[in-house]
């Protein structure tokens, strides 16, 4: 795996963001601790100075400046002093009387002094070297007019502070490092699985269509993604199969009429001897070409219906009206073929859809019954409002469809063995299936004993489902159909 790729992954970026937020909070935390510790140490330092100053001022009140000077010298000479305090006593003119601090300008209250001392033994400095120390001191006026300074080296406080800062720096670095490592690890684990998906996709793009994304069965998001992609791939593969099937069917089905057309024209060139012969040939050739064009038109129409663009123009359709009108149209046609077409159509059954396509779908089914049933056959058309859907039935007493072939008759160009020789494109039921699909209509092919019974379950338009389901007082369903009929 390309290591720089990790830097571009979402999970690494999230890890880095996490690390920086985490690091930032550690820094803030350490700063607060540092500030509080510093404050506490300063307080302590000042408290020590204040106590000593108070003690010496007591001496001043007892015996004046000389008494204070004595006390200071006593303290300075004592060995193993617990705290390294600094003193300075000046007379009213500011001259130093005693103490281990250099003379200072007159002052009062807290102040910070910088003074150079010989380096303490045991430090890293060479003997005789000097070091500057910062002393926090407090000055107070004596009763005799002199000034007393008491101070303490702040170096210790600074040392502790430096130690805290150093520890903090280590802690922050460790925290950021750990967060970053965590981020990279999480990222690597994630990437490995994404890589598996990518590899599979690549393989499919390269033409190995049967490849599928491995899933772990844990049901996490990546597993779900893998499963969904696999299902999508299955569907695409099935569609591609059917496209392949359709193209070879088209090629096969158009080859036959085109060969016939060609033969006819060639025969005319070889044998036609009169204008009448040529005219007859041209007549037939045009009919052949029209049949081929009709097949194309039907294919394109099915494709267009399947694309679903017509859904945008769906509107309420009065199915009863469509059925009534088609029954009137086809009853006459059936009668001409010595068949009977009877019907039972419940009024005001409505759906939502494309009137033109629904008309064609039902017309196709009725025509199928008429064309495939022999003279004397009975054809029955019914429409009624069911509990959940409008139920339509188109039944005939013709030869029917064998049960094992019922599933296939909706495929493009599929034709039963016995109808191969009769006219027809083999696309009528494919169109029915396409129209049904976009309208959510369920089609069942049943045995009419004898014959075929096509049962359609057509979604009812909202508000026209079984009258008993209509809330009391609601306006009668299908009120709008009155307008539609009137406008027509």
């Amino acid at each position: 795996m390309d290591p720089t790729r990790i830097l571009r992954t979402t999970s690494f970026r999230l890890g880095a963001l996490y690390a920086s937020v985490f690091g930032g909070s550690v820094i803030v935390l350490v700063a607060i601790i540092n500030w509080i510790a510093n404050d506490a140490m300063n307080q302590q330092l000042r408290a020590g100075i204040g106590t000593e100053l108070a003690a010496l001022l007591y001496r001043d009140r007892e015996g004046g400046a000389a008494n204070v000077a004595g006390a200071i010298e006593e303290r300075l000479q004592a060995r193993n002093r617990p705290t390294a305090l600094f003193y300075l006593l000046t007379d009213p003119a500011g001259r130093k009387i005693t103490g281990n601090l250099d003379a200072q300008a007159r002052a009062e209250g807290w102040l910070e002094l910088h003074q150079t001392f010989p380096a303490a033994a045991g430090t890293a400095h060479e003997p005789g070297a000097l070091e500057t120390r910062t002393i926090v001191a407090r000055a107070a006026r004596l009763t005799g007019g002199g000034t007393l300074f008491v101070g303490e080296d702040r170096g210790k406080v600074d040392e502790v502070r430096a130690a805290i800062l150093e520890a903090s720096a280590w802690a922050i670095s460790a925290a950021i490092l750990l967060a970053a490592i965590g981020g990279v690890l999480v990222s690597l684990g994630f990437l490995r699985r994404v890589d598996a998906i990518n590899r599979t996709s690549r393989a499919i793009i390269d033409g190995r269509l049967t490849q599928r994304i491995p899933t772990r069965g844990t049901g996490d998001e990546l597993d779900q993604l893998g499963r969904n992609l696999n299902e999508m791939l299955d569907r695409i593969q099935a569609l591609m199969e059917s496209v392949r099937q359709v193209s070879s069917d088209i090629a096969h089905d158009l080859r036959t009429p085109l060969s016939r057309l060609r033969q006819r024209l060639e025969a005319a060139r070889l044998r036609a001897t009169s204008v009448a012969d040529y005219e007859a040939t041209v007549e037939h050739a045009i009919a052949d070409a029209d049949a081929i064009l009709n097949t194309f038109t039907a294919l394109l129409r099915i494709a267009q219906i399947e694309s679903g663009t017509r859904r945008a123009a769906f509107a309420p359709v009065d199915l009863s009206e469509v059925f009534r009108s088609l029954v009137e149209t086809y009853a006459a046609v059936a009668e001409d073929r010595s068949q009977s077409l009877t019907s039972a159509i419940e009024p005001a059954v409505g759906t939502r859809g494309d009137r033109e396509l629904l008309t064609q779908m039902i017309a196709n089914l009725i025509e199928n019954a008429i064309r495939h049933a022999p003279a004397g056959a009975r054809i029955r058309v019914e429409l009624r409002r069911g509990d959940e859907a409008a139920v339509a039935m188109i039944a005939d007493s013709g030869p029917g469809i064998p049960p094992d072939q019922r599933g296939r008759v909706f495929e493009r160009f599929y034709r039963l063995e016995r109808s191969r020789t009769s006219p027809g494109s083999g696309l009528g039921l494919a169109l029915v299936a396409a129209v049904a699909e976009i309208h959510g209509i369920k089609i069942a092919l049943e045995d009419n004993q004898p014959g075929l019974r096509v049962v359609l379950a057509i979604p009812l338009i909202a508000g026209t489902a079984g009258a008993e389901q209509r809330p009391r007082g609601a306006p009668p369903a299908l009120a709008n159909y009155g307008d539609e009929r009137g406008a027509r």
Partner: protein, 225 residues
């Protein structure tokens, strides 16, 4: 008739122009949208034939533009075979009829004839008459020589359409579209069956035949004149 053809395909244009000239029509041809629009806006035509797909300005644009400029000339829209949705778009843009390519010339001729007649139809007629045949749109009754004829609703619709186009040829497709609302080619003899029934009702027993079959084209309703 003076006809404007806006069509970029040379072969289709030639096929249409030659056919129309043979039938005695005057045809102007524009091979692209811009020229077509220029002619459509500037000249007076009886009818225009506009192709959907054109270089420059397309058919829809032309129809919209001239309708916007209040040009009332009837327009026949030509669409490609795949364009079942284009028919709706064409009619919405202001076209009066449409024809899917490829088409039979007789179909084109019949539709042009039907379109060109339109302007005279603006007056509201309630009684249509052909010879001694009368159709009353308000009473929804039909009589021939004063004799009442009973028709089924679809037969009435069929006769009404034929009478509105009396003296012209109407094709099978025109009848399917306007009488039955079928925008597809039925696999059974829907038109033939109903025409034959109508014929037996309005012509049987009368000396003069009104409903004629025009070979290879369609049907025509006209008197003896």
């Amino acid at each position: 008739m003076k006809i404007l053809l806006i069509e970029d395909d040379r072969e289709t244009a030639e096929f249409v122009i030659n056919g129309l000239r043979e039938h005695g029509h005057v045809v102007d041809h524009a091979p692209n949208g811009r020229d077509g629009l220029f002619l459509a806006a500037g000249e007076a035509y009886d009818v225009m034939i506009v192709d959907r797909m054109l270089p420059g300005l397309d058919g829809l644009g032309i129809v919209k533009t001239i309708r916007g400029a209040a040009v009332k000339t009837p327009v026949l829209f030509l669409t490609a075979m795949s364009g079942i949705d284009e028919r709706v778009a064409g009619l919405e843009a202001g076209a009066d009829d449409y024809l899917v390519k490829p088409f039979a010339f007789s179909e084109l001729l019949a539709r042009l004839g039907a379109l060109a007649r339109r302007p005279t139809m603006t007056a509201v007629e309630t009684v249509l008459t052909v010879g001694d045949l009368e159709l009353d749109l308000l009473k929804r009754s039909v009589t021939r020589a004063g004799q009442r004829i009973d028709l089924q609703p679809q037969e009435f619709k069929l006769l009404e359409y034929l009478m509105r186009h009396a003296g012209r040829v109407v094709t099978r497709t025109m009848l399917l579209e306007h009488v039955w609302g079928f925008h597809f080619d039925p696999q059974t003899t829907v038109v033939e069956t109903h025409i034959s029934r109508l014929r037996s009702k309005i012509d049987r027993g009368f000396d003069v035949e009104l409903l004629h079959t025009v070979r290879k084209s369609g049907y025509s309703l006209h008197g003896s004149d």
